[in-house]
């Protein structure tokens, strides 16, 4: 179902909109912190996302230099699982809906 269909099919619109929002693409964004070592962040990216060294370093440098890096995008449920795992490794991650961009 598209978002337009959800809006025209009546009640319960708020619930339908919520479900649709959760079904769309979500970005996992890692935010910079001044504490965690660069080598640690690279290790976490390799461990959590299976990145190779070069990709992990690129994302780490993005976080370091730009304050944030989009490390994954896809369904909300999996994005939440990644955010949880990053939190276990003490990196700060937020989820952003692709529709917001």
């Amino acid at each position: 179902m598209t978002k337009a269909q959800a809006k025209t099919q009546g009640t319960p619109a708020p619930q339908a909109e919520t479900e649709l929002a959760l079904q769309g693409a979500w970005r996992v964004v890692v935010l910079n912190d001044p504490v965690n070592l660069m080598s640690y962040v690279v290790l976490v990216f390799k461990k959590v996302f299976g990145f190779d060294e070069q990709t992990a370093r690129r994302h780490m440098l993005e976080v370091h230099e730009q304050g944030r890096s989009v490390v994954w995008s896809g369904l909300r449920e999996k994005a939440e699982a990644y955010a949880f795992t990053l939190q276990q490794w003490h990196l700060t991650a937020v989820l952003e809906s692709d529709e917001a961009h």
Partner: protein, 153 residues
Amino acid sequence: MKRIEVKLALPVVAPLLDVIKGMADSLRRNLAAPLGLTDLDAEFGSAWTDELMAAQNEDVQTLLALFNDEFFADGVIAFDEGNAEQIVRATAAVRLRLREYYLKPLGDETLESGNVELEQLDEPLRKAFMCYLFLATIQELIIQHLDSSILES
């Protein structure tokens, strides 16, 4: 099993342990990094936090267990595949807590660069910063020598 033993200078490290234990106590009640997801429903968010806290506490206990009788006898601590991952996470947690409790006056840029004149710091701040550096050294050692164990576990 790959194992690293590190001999530490007891007179330098032992005085830092009280600070590390204080941060460990504080981590019993607080997540080291702020919860990034604020739109979780209350019940789910609470379950999430409980699970994260339990894992964090387990990691921190593994870190504290390094400083056992063997350490106080000869200054040796040991890392292997069995504790590397938990210790690397615990050191990150304690370092984040040290920033919250003690190191914010230094400013984030200074903290990131590490350019600090230790002699110019007052005693509590100097001790906290030494802990911060000590834990970073442990982390670097593990990442340098046991990263494959962590990645494959």
